[in-house]
């Protein structure tokens, strides 16, 4: 009965769904684009996630829909990644910088070329789960608690993973800058 009423009222409910979720379109696209690495796959994933969210809208408990939508989208993205990249082997982590260096020296190398391009490349090199957490926290501004929900991990893991992700990102930038200086 409730389902029937919902169906009948679907047109009336439509603006609500769009009002709640359309404002998060850029955030959704950004996450999908960073995870899937190309426009077309990202658009497909976002569309699929919105359609699933729409279908499950009756289970939405209100509030800010961003984390809810991102949870669905993340699942869609990883399903696609498994299909798309099953044959790919992950790029090995560049461990070139293993000579002991002081923090001050590392900081200096980091600053040598801290621009958009460097950051973009370094982010691209991160493993999916690290890229995901940086996008969710540092680009989309989700709180630890929301990330725990979206990525389905305990809050303690959010904390440690974000720390490792940032550490790795910084190392990638430093490694790239150091390589550039050497060559």
């Amino acid at each position: 009965m409730v389902e029937k009423l919902r169906d009948a009222g679907e047109n009336l409910n439509q603006p609500d769904f769009e009002q709640v979720f359309m404002p998060h379109l850029d955030a959704a696209y950004n996450l999908a684009r960073w995870l899937l690495r190309n426009d077309q796959d990202a658009e497909d994933a976002v569309q699929e996630a919105y359609l699933r969210a729409h279908k499950a809208f009756s289970r939405f408990r209100g509030g800010d829909g961003k984390a809810w939508l991102m949870t669905i989208l993340r699942n869609v993205c990883y399903t696609m990644i498994r299909k798309l990249r099953s044959h790919e082997t992950p790029e090995p982590f560049d461990e070139e910088i293993h000579q002991p260096m002081g923090e001050a020296e590392l900081q200096e190398i980091f600053r040598r070329k801290a621009n958009a391009e460097t950051l973009h490349r370094a982010l691209e090199k991160l493993p999916d789960e690290f890229r995901e957490i940086i996008v969710l926290h540092d680009l989309e501004g989700l709180a630890y608690k929301e990330i725990a929900q979206v990525s389905e991990i305990p809050i303690g893991t959010v904390m440690s993973r974000l720390a490792r992700a940032r550490g790795r990102l910084r190392t990638e930038i430093i490694a790239a800058n150091a390589r550039e200086t050497l060559s």
């Binding site: 850029d26 359609l51 904390m159």
Partner: protein, 259 residues
């Protein structure tokens, strides 16, 4: 708080995720530990750097248009399954249904002669296709002085491109399209989340008289001025499209084409 514990909390501290008590304990440690202070500074520098560069991808406006169409389609039970059928314009059918219901009661529709009616139908088909296949513009620019020269060499006439941004109809760009069996200029304007295709081509003596047509929920307004035919197509409401047409008419300079 010992050093190892503190080192783990620097990120959450920087992110404002620590409770007050832990915050105070950490700050106590920081006051005595230069290594943690340096690590915290490095962490802050990295986060500030990410925030400053924000390597964020933005969704294209077409994605939103398509998404809304799909959502509205799935909201209508009788339309379900439409996308799996290989018919030509599912979005067209959907928008047509929605808009016809919405507007039909308040529309005044002039009947068109058969030839101009097929013209309106073709123009609507062009409009729908432009929204559908992610090919709204060939040249994307809000600058009329970029859009107009783009057509040079592609058409044997030069369409007037006016900017209605200040009036709430920003210019989006231009596209080459086919209408009335010839290449025509399509100038694209935006109104909120709707798009307007304005087709312009030389009338060759066979002018369009001010006409409004309602093609399956789309509005088409045609007119001729200074030897050029104009056809505006949109899913916008009739009144808004009329306002748009009036502004275009006021701003197109009365001169012969090609000048």
């Amino acid at each position: 708080m010992n050093h190892d514990e503190a080192a783990k909390l620097l990120g959450p501290y920087q992110d404002g995720e620590l409770d007050l008590a832990t915050c105070l304990k950490l700050e106590e440690h920081l006051a005595d530990c230069p290594s943690c202070r340096q690590k915290l500074a490095g962490e802050k520098e990295l986060v500030d750097f990410i925030h400053a560069e924000t390597p964020r991808f933005k969704a294209s406006p077409f994605l939103q248009t398509r998404l809304q169409a799909r959502l509205r389609e799935t909201a209508q039970p009788q339309q379900k399954g439409g996308w799996s059928l290989p018919f030509a314009f599912p979005q067209f059918a959907l928008l047509a249904t929605v808009l016809t219901v919405a507007f039909i009661s308040c529309l005044v529709v002039w009947s068109l002669s058969p030839s101009s009616s097929s013209l309106a139908r073709d123009a609507v088909a062009d409009h729908v296709r432009s929204l559908q296949v992610n090919h709204l513009v060939d040249v994307a620019s809000t600058d009329q002085h970029t859009v107009k020269p783009w057509f040079a060499g592609k058409l044997d006439y030069s369409p007037q491109v006016v900017d209605l941004g200040p009036s709430g109809f920003p210019l989006i760009g231009g596209r080459l399209d086919v209408l009335d069996h010839r290449n025509v200029a399509a100038i694209i304007y935006q109104r909120r989340k709707h798009y307007i295709n304005l087709f312009i081509w030389p009338s060759g003596g066979d002018g369009l008289h001010d006409r409004l047509s309602n093609q399956d929920g789309y509005h088409v307004i045609g007119w001729s001025k200074s030897g050029m035919n104009y056809l505006a197509v949109s899913e916008l409401g009739e009144k808004e499209l009329r306002d748009f047409v009036q502004m275009i008419q006021e701003q197109t300079v009365d001169s012969r084409p090609g000048e």
